[in-house]
């Protein structure tokens, strides 16, 4: 399993060594969000709104402040007054005013669980008791949860300063529709009128949560001189720094953020909820303060993925060529504007050549927590609708669903929805791999059905900094600013080892704090192995050049007469020709030949490529109970090049199972009072080990020419196809097409027994 093996001429790339942080994580030594303790640290608690929509008339904190042990109480008024400023939040963008208001409400609460005030005290119990003593005078307002309800003329308005973006002329009235995105080409209506087959349908789902097992947590310590430290688990400590600095109006250099290990994020830990509040408490108390969410807080007040209402019409000619697609969808934005609609629009049908398209997406404000990125944000929802419709077309035409997809699949050079041509994508290769996979032709048992779906995600590059330095013994230290959520330290070490041609074990990898390495964007957007990896490779190449140059100077030959091979400099010319000098030897002498060997690369990586996936799913449906069991599952994906295949497979398997959960049982359930009814793992039903089979994987490798080893992002793609793959399998097992997720037993039963 883990024996290093040569692959495609690589020594280390493609092998499966143990991750550098592995032992810490299997022995309980690794420090996560709530594991860090600062001396003299206080414990915080947050008071949250019981109402989904209310005006805050007054907050009386006196009783809380009077409780012995309480050291600080803060409300939204403790934030500085802020001017609207759109800032990068993770890979998305938000108005800094909204970020601050989401941390602590100012004039209005916009969802049940919205933070209203916070306390720091000598114990968590005292902090919680004090929070309960804070008296908030609310004027309860009518609330709205549903997408279409929120767009109605008489709907309660969340913000009086949000005007629909993306429509012209610019509206003069505020609206719950925060954005509309429309793209398209050709004449959809004419093409549909002439199509041999047209399928249409409305698909729906409620928000779902990323479901990371570690709740949000941080410790902040703000000194009297204005300098501060934050220790937290996040997908990007530089984002924590910039958002905290901007919401508090202080210089970024005054905040040093130290990344702790992160217990899962999936896009949900790319913003701040607690850090600015812990900072405010710390400044008032003069001591470090820990704030941590409970599991209920996480469900009620962190950012789930949007639910959706999606209307689809797709037409094909008699040969199965898709002629037109119309997709009109609405996504929950939640309490504050989000921008996932445009990724939904761009990824809706971008994997097919369709001459006539009309793609419209809406972002809709409603009294739910502000939605946040969740693995390929905006793509799975619309993909579910489109890939379900494609399956229906295949059914109506009597075509093999893979053949239909192959017939219409985009290839390198074809335009994306944006008009920018696709680069070296591997979508057709994935479809062909699916067709060739034994799973596709395996016999099915009774009550079983096989579904297939394909999809893609654009991926990203972006800014990253990495340094590579040598110990005096020639061992290699890689330092990045990209938190390791899924084994990326191992990938970084592999790439550095490959460049320097040294054993993997000679390379160690550290995630440095914001004061110790240059800016790096969040670990998200499937960008770390691609973009931070590029920075590591650049820095390693600089170190290699330095080593060659140092060896040349030691030998007294020209640098051109030195080549680097097998972790050593080899002299190829002059009177030292044939001699070699190992990396350890050079490192030991380096300070006498120019100084320590170290290099840093700070890049803004472009050249990323989209990733495509095809998932095959077999389900068995108990028609008497509506129970759906996934009995076999295969995930096929173009990964460009797998640096550490275990962790690439792991992304594919984990994404697939998250998607299975989304398809079958996960859903936010709000009651009529606008309160979340299932804020825990008991009733927010993520898959458990006994719910799923092994997830077979096929890593298709169509290398990315713009990455030194061919990497494409892999983390997000695998959550795109599962919703439709499962639904298509259920449709084929039962003969009934279901349009509303999740496909929970009661719904499947109702669909199979319309008589009641």
């Amino acid at each position: 399993m883990n024996a290093p093996q040569k692959q495609d001429g690589f020594q280390v790339v493609g092998t499966r060594p143990v991750r550098p942080d592995g032992v810490d994580k299997v022995t309980g030594k690794a420090l996560y969000g709530t594991d860090f303790k600062a001396p003299g640290m206080l414990q915080g608690a947050v008071l949250r709104s019981p109402h989904p929509h209310a005006r805050i008339r007054a907050i009386d904190t006196r009783k809380a402040e009077a409780l012995p042990g309480v050291k600080a109480v803060v409300t939204g008024r403790d934030f500085p007054s802020l001017q609207s400023l759109i800032m990068a939040v993770g890979e998305s963008a938000s108005d800094i005013v909204h970020v601050a208001r989401n941390c602590l409400a100012l004039d209005k609460v916009l969802y049940e669980g919205h933070a209203v005030a916070a306390v720091a005290a000598t114990s968590p119990e005292i902090a919680r008791e004090a929070a309960a003593l804070i008296e908030v005078d609310y004027e309860v307002l009518p609330h709205v949860l549903g997408l279409e309800e929120a767009l109605a003329d008489d709907a309660p308005l969340l913000h009086d300063d949000v005007f629909t973006k993306g429509v012209s002329p610019r509206p003069d009235k505020p609206s719950n529709a925060s954005m509309r995105v429309e793209m398209g080409k050709g004449d959809v209506d004419a093409a549909l009128a002439g199509a041999a087959v047209v399928v249409s349908g409305r698909y729906t789902m409620e928000p779902v949560h990323q479901g990371y097992i570690e709740p949000h947590a941080c410790v902040a310590s703000w000194n009297a001189d204005g300098q501060a430290q934050i220790w937290c688990s996040s997908q990007g400590h530089f984002a924590i720094r910039s958002l905290t600095a901007s919401t508090l109006g202080i210089p970024q250099a005054d905040i040093r953020v130290t990344p702790l290990e992160i217990g899962g994020g999936f896009g949900g830990k790319t913003t701040v909820y607690l850090e600015p509040v812990a900072m405010l408490l710390s400044r008032k108390a003069g001591r470090p303060v820990r704030l941590a969410m409970s599991r209920e807080d996480v469900f009620r007040a962190s950012g789930p993925a949007p639910g959706a209402v999606i209307d689809v019409r797709i037409g094909a000619d008699a040969d199965g060529m898709l002629v037109a697609a119309e997709v009109d969808f609405k996504y929950h934005s939640g309490a504050y504007p989000a921008i996932t609609a445009h990724s939904g629009v761009s990824s809706a049908v971008g994997h097919y050549r369709i001459a006539n398209t009309r793609l419209i997406g809406w972002e809709v404000l409603c009294n739910r927590p502000a939605t946040k990125a969740y693995r390929a944000p905006g793509a799975p929802q619309v993909n579910f609708a489109v890939e379900s419709a494609i399956d229906e077309i295949a059914g109506k035409l009597g075509m093999d669903p893979l053949e239909l997809r192959l017939k219409n699949a985009v290839a390198p050079g074809d335009p994306q929805t944006s008009g920018v041509p696709f680069g070296m994508i591997g979508w057709i290769e994935c479809l062909e791999a699916a067709r060739a996979h034994p799973h596709w032709s395996a016999p099915l048992g009774p009550n079983q059905g096989r579904g297939v779906a394909g999809g893609y995600w654009g991926n990203y590059g972006g800014p990253s900094t990495a340094s590579v330095s040598l110990g005096e013994d020639g061992s290699v230290l890689v330092t990045t600013g990209s938190p390791d959520i899924g084994g990326s330290r191992a990938a970084m070490a592999i790439m550095a080892a490959e460049v320097l041609e040294v054993p993997y074990e000679k390379v160690r990898c550290t995630i440095a704090d914001t004061a110790s390495i240059g800016f790096s964007m969040v670990t998200g957007g499937s960008r770390v192995t691609f973009a931070t990896g590029k920075a590591v490779v650049d820095a390693a190449n600089m170190v290699k050049d330095t080593l060659r140059e140092r060896a040349a100077r030691m030998w007294g030959v020209a640098a051109a007469d030195v080549e680097w091979r097998d972790g050593a400099a080899h002299c190829t010319g002059g009177d030292k020709a044939g001699e070699s000098m190992a990396i350890g030897t050079i490192a030991a002498r380096a300070i006498f030949a120019g100084g320590p060997v170290s290099a840093e690369a700070a890049i803004n990586a472009a050249g990323w490529l989209p990733g495509f996936g095809v998932h095959i799913c077999d389900t068995e449906v108990d028609a008497e109970t509506g129970q759906v069991r996934v009995v076999r599952y295969t995930a096929i994906q173009d990964v460009g090049r797998a640096i550490h295949p275990d962790y690439v497979e792991g992304q594919m398997q984990g994404g697939a199972v998250q998607g299975i959960g989304w398809a079958l049982n996960e859903t936010y359930i709000y009651n009529a009072q606008g309160k979340l009814d299932n804020p825990g793992f008991l009733d927010y039903r993520m898959p458990v080990a006994s719910d799923v089979p092994m997830i077979d994987t096929v890593m298709v490798e169509v290398p990315n020419p713009d990455h030194p080893f061919g990497v494409k992002g892999v983390g997000e793609v695998p959550i795109v196809p599962p919703l439709a793959a499962v639904a298509n399998a259920v449709a084929r097992a039962t003969g009934v097409r279901m349009h509303d997720l999740p496909l929970s037993p009661d719904r499947v039963y109702a669909a199979l027994h319309p008589e009641g």
């Binding site: 890979e91 973006k165 994020g265």
Partner: protein, 79 residues
């Protein structure tokens, strides 16, 4: 040089999806676009991506001589 403006920026800022402008580089172009639609420059830094003759770039300083088309498209957020 043709400037193709993808949604939502077309309607959000410019009222059109095509412009014809000459610019030395993307900084210059963004400056010109900001003059047409004040506020665009700030937004561009956090929400926009540019493709020059079909290739997405992060280097706003690279010269636009001999370029025929720049596509302005929304940056897609990831998880």
């Amino acid at each position: 040089m043709r400037i193709v403006i993808m949604p939502p920026f077309d309607r959000e800022f410019f009222g059109t999806d095509r412009l014809d402008l000459a610019a030395t580089n993307l900084f210059d172009l963004v400056g010109q676009l900001d003059a047409l639609a004040p506020g665009f420059a700030t937004i561009a830094q956090v929400r926009a991506t540019f493709a020059i003759d079909g290739v997405v770039t992060h280097d706003w300083a690279s010269p636009l001589a001999n370029v025929t088309e720049v596509i302005l498209l929304p940056r897609v957020g990831g998880g």
